[in-house]
Symmetry: C2
Subunit: 449 residues, 2 copies
């Protein structure tokens, strides 16, 4: 039934507004601007037309079938609106409005009233108290800001902002998203339902979550265990500390739970846990776009000695192996590279490195069993980096993780090119190595199954 | 004497080239493009003119006094060039060329020969084997990429790339730099000389370093202790692990040393240590642009519950206090803010937060002794954020640290405005809190003195 929420033929926006400062305007405007091809019905008893579309006084007065209703009206009247939706045969509902269980006893009653109606119906409900949903693949941006970049990452977030941040970055870097869901109070649909749904979604390669609590521990573990065999799940968990858990209570009324319990549960089920929002994005991006390594043996190729050293430090800390190259490869490289290049691990191509040198090294090690993955650091304005990495990726089954930094305008244009080729670029060695570590970890998780 | 290196009246580029692929072209071109006002003398025996400037066959044939020589010629002829510079009365030299002690015994001899000449002269030397220097305040970009943004951060780096990355970010965000120095092999001038020099530099507010080893431990501690009483020193140290230290040896021949020793030395001398390149930048940016808090008591103001929770988790981990507001302020805020705002710490202004609400909270707490600093999270497309923060900064002596995320195009334009006002913006709650923590730490260091 979630299909009607993410891929509806017709959508009613209940509480659509002509005032650009209102959420009811923003949502309708974003759906229009995102290019939604289905039917759109603004519902507002005080308007005949909104944003060029005929408006209806109520959902009941819409002449056609409505698959999905987006609700942005004051909390007290939401239960009666849901009743009307039910009568109309609406299949999916997203309640953006706040004022429910997150506000206290009064709101809790309202939320219970909604759940009562939903339970007796076939309707599936997202929210209330959420930042909506987005499916760029059909132009359904029932959320904000306006995000239209299609891509492989499904974002499920108990915080609208954290989810929107993932969307913004994925849009800026042309990675794109497959789905976005702000969970809100999880009155009906929760993260477990969505993980299950997105595990079957052909547009989704990675499922990325910000969570403050899990709705049903046992069920979560059962589903997560199953899904991680097919697709990676990456989770950032808020409320790890005592004070954090207290803040969670007043945000979404979730029980943050003991952090050690989550840690153990994530490990057991093959969920990749991350510590920061940027890491949630970096790891998701890497898993969505790169091949998986067969093991943890990495060759670092760099033009910057310092960046190589920072990478080595982090590899040692994370347990990533940095093997010496076999003699035969070393000798071949010595012949093909300038004599001042340092043929070790890292391979230091030095400050005057050309893009071609990276290609030479990767080609030479493309099939070497001693190496499972490449970490290439472009630490200068190196022209042609994008082309060389693109070509190299066709010549090896091993993943190539790219960090680009210190390259000024050349860096910007090469990064843009790489992004247009679907090659993820990381802004520092540290962020690149953490992303690579996630590839290694997920590869291990898959091989255990 | 370092004054002649960073603020010369005349500069000779020995090894200037007409070939755009050569460093000797890039350096001359960047100095011209950066708008250097002093005299420029390209030295190249095979050219009459380079980039529109009259070229000279040797430094001796230059008709005027030369303050600074930038050397980009093959290592074997560098000693004789230095001799010529000495005869000419050159006061400062930067050797970009590699091929010295970093390459083995042969190169070591060459470097020793250079040091011999320098020791007997009044010349101060930076390098060899380095990415040059930059002083945007006089348009002297004798380095790459081209960076012209003037600002308060002095960057000293044992890695050209790590330093250039700091320059690039500071340029992109209009923070700017005061000086950039790539240390290279530190044959003469080392990080200690530069820390001392920049402690007196009126354009420098923060001294930021990437180091792989310290040249003279005792002297370093003596100088660092003195300087941190006046200006903050922030250090990222490469080669923390065993393998990292090994890589340091082959990069700059530095002895990375035991990490615990560095840790203790940094703590004793009031140096702020960071773990990643981005943190080096974030912390430097905060210290350069923000006021210092009197203590560690922070009020978090957010439109995003989730971002608030992630901030709380990190505050607890770092030992930042999040006091409850006094009853009187709470009551005042309850009157002035919508009833659904959560008046706690974090203060959650909720998803429909306007910029004005942030202003109301800051004004109410501007003089409250219970609070030492504000952490404001704009977690939505909040129009007017820049103006409100600018005005608020004028009304309180407490620092206001800003994180902005999930705001799409509005975020980009508000961020640009804040940057034009000299207000630093952090892209995530985590990076903002780490920067705020550095402000707290440095304030503590100052109060101990």
């Amino acid at each position: 039934m979630l299909e009607y929420i993410f891929n509806p033929s017709s959508v009613a926006i209940i509480g659509a507004s002509r005032d650009p400062s209102k959420t009811g305007y923003v949502i309708l405007n974003n759906i229009i601007k995102a290019g939604f091809k289905g039917k759109l019905y603004p519902i507002n008893p005080k308007a005949d037309e909104i944003l060029g579309l005929k408006a209806y006084p109520s959902i009941e007065s819409v002449p056609d079938q409505v698959d999905l209703a987006i609700i942005i009206v004051p909390a007290p009247i939401v239960p009666s609106i849901i009743e009307q939706c039910n009568k109309k045969g609406v299949k999916g509902i997203v309640i953006i409005s706040g004022g429910f269980s997150e506000t206290g006893a009064e709101g809790e009653k309202l939320e219970k009233a909604i759940v009562e109606i939903i339970k007796k119906s076939k309707i599936r409900l997202i929210g209330p108290n959420c930042q909506g949903i987005n499916n760029p693949h059909v132009g359904l941006c029932a959320s904000w800001p306006l995000i239209t970049a299609k891509g492989p990452i499904a974002v499920i977030s108990q915080s609208g902002t954290v989810g929107a941040t993932m969307e913004c970055w994925a849009s800026d870097e042309k990675v794109g998203i497959s789905k976005f869901v702000a969970l809100g109070n999880k009155a009906d649909v929760n993260e477990i339902d969505l993980i299950e749904a997105f595990s079957e979604d052909k547009d989704t390669k990675v499922i990325s979550l910000y969570l403050e609590g899990v709705s049903d521990g046992k069920k979560f573990m059962e589903i997560a265990k199953k899904v991680t065999k097919k697709k990676p799940i990456v989770i950032l968990k808020g409320g790890r500390t005592k004070l954090g858990a207290k803040a969670v209570m007043s945000h979404t009324r979730s029980l943050a739970g003991k952090d050690e319990v989550y840690d153990a549960a994530f490990k057991q089920t093959g969920v990749l846990r991350v510590d920061e929002i940027e890491e949630l994005y970096d790891v998701s991006k890497a898993l969505a776009l790169l091949k998986l390594p067969k093991g943890n043996k990495v060759l670092i190729i760099t033009s910057s000695g310092g960046s190589g050293i920072l990478s080595v430090d982090l590899c040692e800390k994370l347990g990533i192996a940095l093997p010496e190259l076999p003699k035969k490869i070393k000798e071949a490289l010595k012949e093909k590279l300038p004599p001042y290049c340092i043929i070790s691990n890292p391979i230091d191509l030095t400050g005057d490195a050309t893009a071609e040198r990276y290609g030479i090294v990767i080609q030479e090690c493309a099939n070497a069993p001693e190496i499972d993955a490449f970490f290439t650091i472009f630490g200068d304005p190196i022209v042609g980096a994008a082309e060389v990495i693109k070509e190299s990726m066709e010549k090896t089954e091993k993943p190539i993780v790219v960090a680009f930094l210190g390259g000024g305008e050349v860096e910007k244009s090469e990064k843009e090119k790489m992004q247009s080729y679907g090659i993820p670029v990381f802004p520092t060695p540290e962020r690149g190595i953490k992303a690579l570590n996630a590839l290694i970890k997920y590869s291990r998780i898959l091989s255990k199954h």
